[in-house]
C-alpha cells in the first residue's frame, strides 16, 4: 500500500513516531482550509460524495481553486451556530436542508447570497432563497412491499386503512411529515394542508397508533426494514426506498400525496472565504452538472433542464421528474419553523402515553 494513503487525512506516520512532539506539531499539520484560494465544503458523506464529486467538485477544481470536501453530521445546525459564534470557520460551504435553512436564517447565522444568470433563473422557485441555493429535491413518500401487501395501496388514506390493506406498518418517531400524512389520510385538501390542523392530525394518529410495529429513527433503518420484510408499508425518503428496490427487494414507491423538501448549500455568516464559496455555489445551479449526481443519488435536480441529460429510466425514479413532481406537495418550512418545538413536545408526549 502506498505510504501517502496514511498521510492524506492528516496524521502522518512521522507525527506518530515522534510521539509527544508529533502530537504537539499536529495542529500545524492539519489546520483546516486556510490557504487563500481553498474552500472546505461539508456534505452528508457517503453516496453524496460519489454523486457530487463528478457533478460539482471536479469541475470547480478545474477552475484552479482548491476544494476539500468533508462529511458533516446528519443535522449540522448547531455546528454552524458554533462556528459562527466562535468565529472559527471549519466549513466555508455546508449542505443543509431547507428546513434547517429556516432555523439558521432566523438566527442570523447564514451569509446572504445574490445570484443571477441563466442557470440560476432556471431553478425551482423554492431553491432560490436569499441565503441558500437548493441543489436537490427529496421526496418524503410511502413505500410498500408488493409481495406482502395483498391489495396495492395508492395513498395516505390506504396507509391508515388497516382493514383493506393489512400489513405491518412503520412511522418515523418524529412529527415532521407524519402530521401531514395523517391529515391527508383524513381527507384534507393537499392545497389547504397548511397551517396544519394539529388536533385533527393527532386524532387521526390515535387510530393508527396500535397498528404501528416500528417507530423508526434513522433513514438507514427504513431501507433495512423494507429490504428484510420486517415492515411492509412505511414512509421514508425516496432514495432510501429506492436503495431497497435497487437491491432487488419487491418494493414500490407511491408518489401520490408525498411531500418534498430540499437540500442545498449555505455559507456560515462572516466566513472569510465567502467570495470563493459563492462562486462554488453559483456553479451548482447548472442543469447539466446536476444531472451527473443523479447517477449515484436518487434525488431530483432543482434545475429542470437537467432532465435533458438524464436517462429516461432513471428520471422516473427522481422526485422532480415532471410526472412525479406534479403529485408532490411542498413541505412548509415557515409553518414548521414557527411550530417545530411545540410539535416535538406534543408528539413525544403522545407517544409515551399508551
Amino acid at each position: 500500500m502506498p505510504d501517502h494513503s496514511f498521510v492524506r487525512n492528516g496524521i502522518s506516520r512521522r507525527g506518530l513516531l515522534g510521539g509527544g512532539a508529533g502530537l504537539i506539531a499536529a495542529p500545524f499539520i492539519i489546520r483546516p482550509a486556510s490557504a487563500a484560494e481553498r474552500i472546505t465544503v461539508a456534505d452528508p458523506g457517503g453516496v453524496y460524495v460519489t454523486g457530487f464529486t463528478p457533478a460539482f467538485y471536479a469541475p470547480f477544481r478545474k477552475t484552479g481553486a482548491e476544494l476539500v470536501n468533508v462529511s458533516r453530521d446528519s443535522e449540522p445546525t448547531s455546528q454552524v451556530k458554533a462556528q459562527v459564534d466562535a468565529k472559527s470557520y471549519v466549513w466555508d460551504v455546508v449542505s443543509i436542508t431547507l428546513s434547517s435553512r429556516k432555523l439558521l436564517s432566523d438566527a442570523g447565522l447564514l451569509e446572504p447570497l445574490q445570484f443571477s444568470g441563466a442557470d440560476y433563473d432556471e431553478l425551482l422557485p423554492l431553491a432560490k432563497q436569499p441565503d441558500w441555493l437548493g441543489t436537490n429535491v427529496y421526496g418524503s413518500v410511502l413505500g410498500y412491499r408488493t409481495d406482502n401487501m395483498k391489495a396495492r395501496p395508492s395513498n395516505w388514506a390506504d396507509f391508515y386503512d388497516v382493514a383493506r390493506f393489512p400489513g405491518r406498518r412503520a412511522l418515523p418517531k418524529s412529527p415532521i411529515h407524519t402530521l401531514e400524512g395523517a391529515l391527508l389520510a383524513d381527507g384534507v385538501d393537499p392545497k389547504k394542508l397548511y397551517p396544519l390542523d394539529v388536533d385533527r392530525a393527532f386524532k387521526k394518529l390515535d387510530t393508527i397508533k396500535p397498528h404501528i410495529a416500528v417507530w423508526w429513527t434513522s433513514f438507514t433503518q427504513t431501507t433495512q426494514l423494507l429490504q428484510s420484510g420486517e415492515v411492509d408499508f412505511l414512509p421514508s425518503s425516496n432514495a432510501r426506498i429506492q436503495a431497497a428496490i435497487d437491491n432487488g427487494a419487491p418494493v414500490e414507491i407511491i408518489w401520490d400525496g408525498g411531500l418534498y423538501g430540499m437540500e442545498g448549500w449555505a455559507i456560515p455568516k462572516g466566513c472569510p472565504r465567502a467570495e470563493l464559496a459563492k462562486k462554488f455555489i453559483a456553479s451548482c445551479a447548472n442543469g447539466e452538472r446536476q444531472a451527473l449526481y443523479t447517477k449515484a443519488l436518487a434525488y431530483g435536480p432543482t434545475n429542470q433542464t437537467a432532465f435533458k441529460f438524464i436517462d429516461p429510466a432513471r428520471a422516473k425514479q427522481l422526485p422532480t421528474e415532471p410526472a412525479n413532481f406534479s403529485k408532490l406537495i411542498p413541505s412548509n418550512d415557515e409553518w414548521w419553523g414557527a411550530n417545530k418545538d411545540k410539535m416535538f413536545e406534543r408528539f413525544n408526549a403522545w407517544l409515551l402515553r399508551s
Binding site: 487525512n9 506518530l16 502530537l23 453516496v47 462556528q83 418517531k173 404501528i212 416500528v214 417507530w215 416535538f344
Partner: protein, 608 residues
C-alpha cells in the same frame, strides 16, 4: 500488623523544622497531590467549557436571565417521564450486565492464568465491532424474519415470530450486550486479587460451599461489583442510538431529547436545562447509591463506614443486606445439601464446576452472536446485508483496501485511541491512588466530579469544547480530539484502578519499605506489577471509548480528518452495506490477533 491503617504507613518526617503552623496541614494534604493533575485537566477541558454551556439554562434565547427554562422543564410531565424511562432502561441494563457478567468474571478469575488470558480475548470481542455495526446486526438478527426467530420457530418454541425487537426487550438485549464486557472487565481484576486463603479458612472452620460463597467470597467481590454497577449504570444513561434503533414507542432516552433540542430546534438553553436535570438526577442516584450500597466499599474498605457516624437509615440497610446475604447462603447451603445427599461427593463438586462453565459459555455465546452474523455478512456477493447471504465473494474486502478512506480512518482512530488512552491512564491512575488510599472529607463529591464527564451528554461536551478550542486554536486538530477523548475516558480509568486498589494488600508495600525499598521502587516493582490486570483493563476501556466515539469527533473535527466511526457513519447513510461488515470483520481479526500475539510473547518471555 493487621490493624495498621494508611495513616501509620506515612513515612516518618525527616527532621523538618516547623516553620509555620501551616506545614502539618500541607503535609497531610500531600497524599492528595496526585489528584491535582486530573482535577486541573478536568477543570480546563470539562468544567470550565461545559459549565459555560450549562449556564445557558439560566438565560433565555435573547440573553436575559430567567428561570423560565427550569420552570418549563418542571411543569411539563413529559421530561419527568422521559427521565424515569431513561433511569429504568439504565437500571435494567445494569442488573442484567452485572448478574450476567459475574459468572463470567468468576470463571475467568478461577481459571489457570494462561487459559484465562486467552479466554478474556473472547469476552472482549464485542469491543472491536463498532456499536453501529453491532446495533444493526441485532436489528437483522432479532427481526421478524431474523435468525433468532427462525431458530425459535424451527425448534417449535414459538408458533409465530416473537417480538424481540422494537420494544424494551430489544433495547435491553442491545444495551446489555454492549455493557457486559465492561462489567466483566471491571469485576475481573478485583476477583483476581482475592485471597483464596480466606475461603479455605472458612472451610476449615466448617462452612459449606454455599456459605463460603455468599458470606466470604461475595463480600470480597463487592468493590468490583459496585464499581461495575456504577460504570454500567452511568454509561447507560448516555446511550441513545441503541434504544433509538432497537426500542419502541416508549424507549426514549433523555439524551435523545437533548440532541433534538440542540440539533433540530437549535435551542441551546433548553438543551442545557435538560442536561442540568440529567446531571442533578444522576448525582442524586449516585448519592443514594453511596448511602445504600456504599461507594466506601469501592474507596477503601468497610472501615470507612464504621468510622463515620452512620445514620440509623444506613444501619438498618446494613442489617437487611447482611440478612439477605446470610439468608441466600443458608438457602443455597440447603439446596446444596439435598444435592450432596443425592449425589456422590465427586459428582457434586463436578456439578459445581460444570455449572460455572455452563454459565460462562452461555454469556460468551450471547456476546458472540452479532459477531457470528457480521463475519458471513462480509462475504455477501449481493449489495445488501441479509439474514441469508447465499454465495461467497471477496468484493467488499477489495473495496475496503481499494479506498484509502478506510485505511486512513483506521490509522487516525488508532493514533487517537492510543494517545487518549495513555493520557487517561496516567491522569486517572494517579488520581485513583490518591482516592483509594486516603480518607478525606468530600471524597464522594470528588468521585462524582470525576464521573460527571460520563453523565453530561456528549453533544453538550462537543459544543462546549468547540468554543474552548476555537480560542486555543485546537479545532480540527488531533491534539484536540485526543484531549476530548481523554476527558470521556478518564472516569473509567479512575473507577477501574480504584476497584483493584480497594482489594490491594498494602502490607506488601510496607514489607518492601521495611526491606529498604524507596517509595518509587515499591511502586514500580511491587504495586504496579500486582495491579497490572486492572491497569490493562483501564487502558482498554479508555482506548475503546475513543475508538468507538462518534459525536465529539464529528463536531470537533468538522470532518477535517476521518475516524473509523465517522467513516462507518458516512457509509451507513443510505443502507447498511457489506463494506461495513468487511471492515468490522477486519477489525475483529486484527485486534484479536494482536491480543493473541501479545499473549504469546508474554508467555514465552515469562518462560525464559
Amino acid at each position: 500488623m493487621t490493624a495498621m491503617s494508611a495513616r501509620d504507613y506515612e513515612p516518618a518526617p525527616v527532621a523538618e523544622p516547623a516553620i509555620s503552623a501551616l506545614q502539618p496541614r500541607l503535609r497531610r494534604a500531600r497524599p492528595l497531590l496526585p489528584l491535582l493533575p486530573l482535577f486541573a485537566f478536568l477543570a480546563l477541558f470539562f468544567f470550565f467549557p461545559v459549565g459555560q454551556i450549562l449556564s445557558l439554562s439560566l438565560f433565555d434565547q435573547s440573553g436575559a436571565i430567567t428561570s423560565a427554562n427550569f420552570a418549563k422543564a418542571f411543569s411539563d410531565p413529559l421530561y419527568f417521564d422521559v427521565l424515569l424511562i431513561t433511569f429504568k432502561i439504565a437500571g435494567w441494563t445494569t442488573v442484567i450486565s452485572v448478574v450476567g457478567g459475574f459468572p463470567v468474571a468468576y470463571y475467568l478469575a478461577n481459571a489457570a492464568p494462561h487459559s484465562r488470558n486467552a479466554l478474556v480475548i473472547w469476552v472482549l470481542l464485542p469491543f472491536w465491532t463498532s456499536f453501529l455495526v453491532r446495533t444493526f446486526a441485532w436489528m437483522i438478527l432479532l427481526g421478524r424474519n431474523g435468525a433468532v426467530n427462525q431458530l425459535l420457530l424451527a425448534l417449535g418454541i414459538v408458533d409465530a415470530p416473537a417480538s424481540l425487537i422494537f420494544n424494551l426487550t430489544g433495547t435491553l438485549i442491545g444495551m446489555s450486550h454492549a455493557m457486559l464486557p465492561l462489567a466483566v472487565m471491571t469485576m475481573l481484576p478485583v476477583m483476581q486479587t482475592i485471597d483464596g486463603n480466606l475461603s479455605r479458612a472458612a472451610e476449615t472452620l466448617g462452612a459449606g460451599r454455599a456459605q463460603i460463597f455468599w458470606r466470604i467470597y461475595i463480600p470480597q467481590c463487592m468493590p468490583g461489583i459496585s464499581a461495575a454497577a456504577m460504570m454500567v449504570f452511568i454509561s447507560s444513561l448516555g446511550f441513545f442510538i441503541t434504544p433509538a434503533l432497537l426500542g419502541g414507542a416508549r424507549e426514549t432516552m433523555l439524551t435523545q431529547v437533548i440532541i433534538t433540542q440542540i440539533q433540530e430546534l437549535l435551542n441551546w438553553p433548553a438543551a442545557s436545562t435538560l442536561s442540568v436535570l440529567l446531571l442533578a438526577a444522576s448525582i442524586l442516584v449516585f448519592v443514594a447509591y453511596d448511602r445504600v450500597v456504599g461507594l466506601s466499599s469501592l474507596a477503601g474498605g468497610s472501615a470507612d463506614r464504621s468510622a463515620r457516624t452512620v445514620s440509623a437509615w444506613s444501619r438498618i440497610l446494613d442489617v437487611i443486606g447482611r440478612a439477605v446475604v446470610n439468608g441466600l447462603g443458608s438457602l443455597c447451603a440447603g439446596i446444596g445439601a439435598v444435592f450432596a445427599w443425592l449425589l456422590p461427593a465427586r459428582a457434586f463438586r463436578g456439578l459445581g464446576r460444570g455449572s460455572s462453565l455452563a454459565l460462562f459459555l452461555i454469556v460468551v455465546a450471547f456476546l458472540l452472536i452479532p459477531t457470528l452474523f457480521v463475519i458471513p455478512a462480509s462475504f455477501t456477493p449481493g449489495n445488501a446485508v441479509q439474514a441469508n447471504p447465499g454465495g461467497f465473494s471477496l468484493r467488499w474486502y477489495e473495496a475496503v483496501f481499494a479506498s484509502s478512506d478506510w485505511t486512513s480512518a483506521a490509522w487516525n482512530s488508532l493514533v487517537v485511541g492510543l494517545a487518549s488512552g495513555a493520557v487517561a491512564l496516567v491522569l486517572g491512575t494517579m488520581a485513583a491512588f490518591a482516592m483509594a488510599w486516603n480518607r478525606f472529607p468530600g471524597k464522594t463529591a470528588a468521585l462524582a466530579v470525576i464521573l460527571s464527564p460520563l453523565i453530561v451528554p456528549r453533544i453538550v461536551i462537543a459544543v462546549a469544547l468547540f468554543f474552548l478550542y476555537s480560542k486555543l486554536e485546537l479545532v480540527g486538530t488531533v491534539t484536540g480530539l485526543v484531549i476530548a477523548h481523554a476527558v470521556l475516558a478518564v472516569p473509567y480509568v479512575v473507577i477501574t484502578v480504584m476497584a483493584v486498589l480497594a482489594t490491594y494488600d498494602r502490607r506488601l508495600d510496607q514489607a518492601a519499605a521495611v526491606m529498604g525499598a524507596s517509595r518509587w521502587q515499591t511502586l514500580r516493582r511491587i504495586t504496579l506489577p500486582i495491579i497490572k490486570p486492572g491497569l490493562l483493563s483501564a487502558f482498554l476501556f479508555a482506548f475503546v471509548t475513543s475508538f468507538d466515539e462518534l459525536t465529539v469527533a464529528l463536531f470537533l473535527t468538522g470532518g477535517s480528518f476521518n475516524t473509523l466511526p465517522r467513516q462507518m457513519w458516512s457509509d451507513l447513510l443510505l443502507q447498511i452495506n457489506p463494506t461495513l461488515a468487511a471492515v468490522a470483520t477486519l477489525l475483529l481479526v486484527l485486534m484479536t490477533g494482536l491480543l493473541f500475539l501479545n499473549e504469546r510473547f508474554r508467555r514465552s518471555a515469562g518462560r525464559h
